[in-house]
């Protein structure tokens, strides 16, 4: 634009256009707000940093791609598995599992299926019917009667809002809505009704994000208040903290963690107010070969879990 105006002819209009341009940057255009992130991913950054998938024992994952969209995965895991027990002690039983999975990932259709040796199937489907409407389905099917779960979600994405309707087995219905209010702030709410347990709930959430930080808060009438804050200190380091409080049962948990994303590895760690420290390391040994170390130490329950694994592909 400066090239079009002959130099020295009129210096004032160029100045005015420059200041008008910066004024336009500062003034927010409320008709052009960005689309907010989905309601269930509100705490995404905090979850990624503070809740890595720790495991105990050996884990070996092999993913073989047959073409760009289709891949098969084989996964072996051996280690103690906790079973729920009435007493305060944790009871662990050594188990070994082989899991076969098939993934088909297309821009419009995503199908992921995983089946274990004991017959349990874990299926996820995501189908983009149009640019704005998406259907998602999620199912865990077992051979035991009455232990299977399924859930359907219908998502509609508007210009600066997202809405979702959920239906699940056991007469579970839910709906959620999230709207961008300013370029940084988005507010949303959800309702759900569980027919089988005759429970209903309503919740509200808010998310404030900038380039450097993300702060979220969520309140529900089931008594949960969840707040989180993630600060991106640099490209490689981010720090996160999380606070969960149940005002009905007067239970509070706070955790603080870090996430280092370095060239060859990703290290995540956190410490909890329940006396639990967790650490998760993914080291890239070679192209497509990752070595994983996981540790979870619970000083209160005296439960020590260490795991190691290898991921290929």
């Amino acid at each position: 634009m400066a090239g079009l105006v002959p130099p020295g002819a009129t210096a004032v209009p160029a100045d005015v256009s420059h200041t008008a341009h910066t004024k336009h940057d500062e003034k927010t255009d409320y008709m052009n707000l960005p689309c907010p992130i989905p309601y269930e991913e509100l705490h995404r950054e905090a979850l990624m940093s503070l809740k890595p998938e720790t495991f105990e024992g050996l884990r070996f994952d092999f993913t073989k791609g047959l073409n760009q969209k289709f891949s098969l995965s084989h996964s072996v895991s051996m280690g103690p598995t906790e079973i729920p027990s009435q007493s305060a002690e944790t009871i662990k039983i050594p188990t070994a599992n082989y899991e076969f999975g098939a993934n088909f990932i297309d821009p419009n259709l995503m199908l992921i299926g995983r089946v274990l040796t004991d017959g349990r199937l874990n299926a996820r489907v995501k189908w983009d019917l149009t640019d704005n409407l998406t259907v998602k389905a999620n199912a865990q099917l077992t051979n035991e009667p009455h232990m299977s779960h399924g859930m359907f979600n219908f998502d509609y994405k508007g210009k600066d809002f997202r809405s979702q309707f959920q239906m699940g087995n056991g007469a579970l219905f839910g709906a959620s809505y999230i709207q961008s209010v300013t370029p940084h702030l988005s507010l949303g709410g959800e309702v759900f009704w569980a027919g089988q347990h005759r429970k209903s709930g309503i919740g509200y959430a808010a998310r404030y994000e900038t380039d450097k930080m993300v702060g979220t808060g969520q309140v529900a009438n089931t008594g949960i208040v969840a707040l989180s804050y993630v600060q991106k200190v640099s490209d490689k380091v981010s720090l996160a903290s999380d606070f969960m409080y149940n005002y009905l049962s007067r239970d509070a948990t706070a955790s603080v963690g870090y996430d280092y994303i370095l060239r060859q590895c990703r290290l995540r760690g956190k410490i909890d107010s329940n006396g639990c420290t967790t650490s998760y390391l993914e080291e890239r040994l070679n192209m497509g070969l990752n070595f994983i170390l996981s540790a979870e130490i619970d000083h209160m329950k005296k439960d020590y879990k260490f795991g190691f694994g290898l991921t290929v592909g």
Binding site: L66, K69, F104, A123
Partner: protein, 103 residues
Amino acid sequence: MGWRVAIDPAPKRSVVEVYPKSRRKTNQLLIMASRVSLKTKGKGGKGSKGSDEKSAAQCLKEWSTWAMKKAKVVTHYGFIPLVIIIGMNSEPKPQLYQLLSPV
């Protein structure tokens, strides 16, 4: 415990008759029986009304339960084969041996 039990062999309804040995236990038994009879009266009343009209809603519920059961079995056995079939037919078509070989 001090109870004697006799079961009426009549086919239509099974009645458990209890002969308590003490008066206190007799009183307890009468109170329990009155509670149970009130409950069954209520249920009997509702039941007779409902069985007359096997309504469309009940039919629909039975059919939908049957359909969900069949859908669950179909999904359980057929989901992974479905994903494999869709994947093997996507472009560029992979070969069959690639499905089984570890390379």
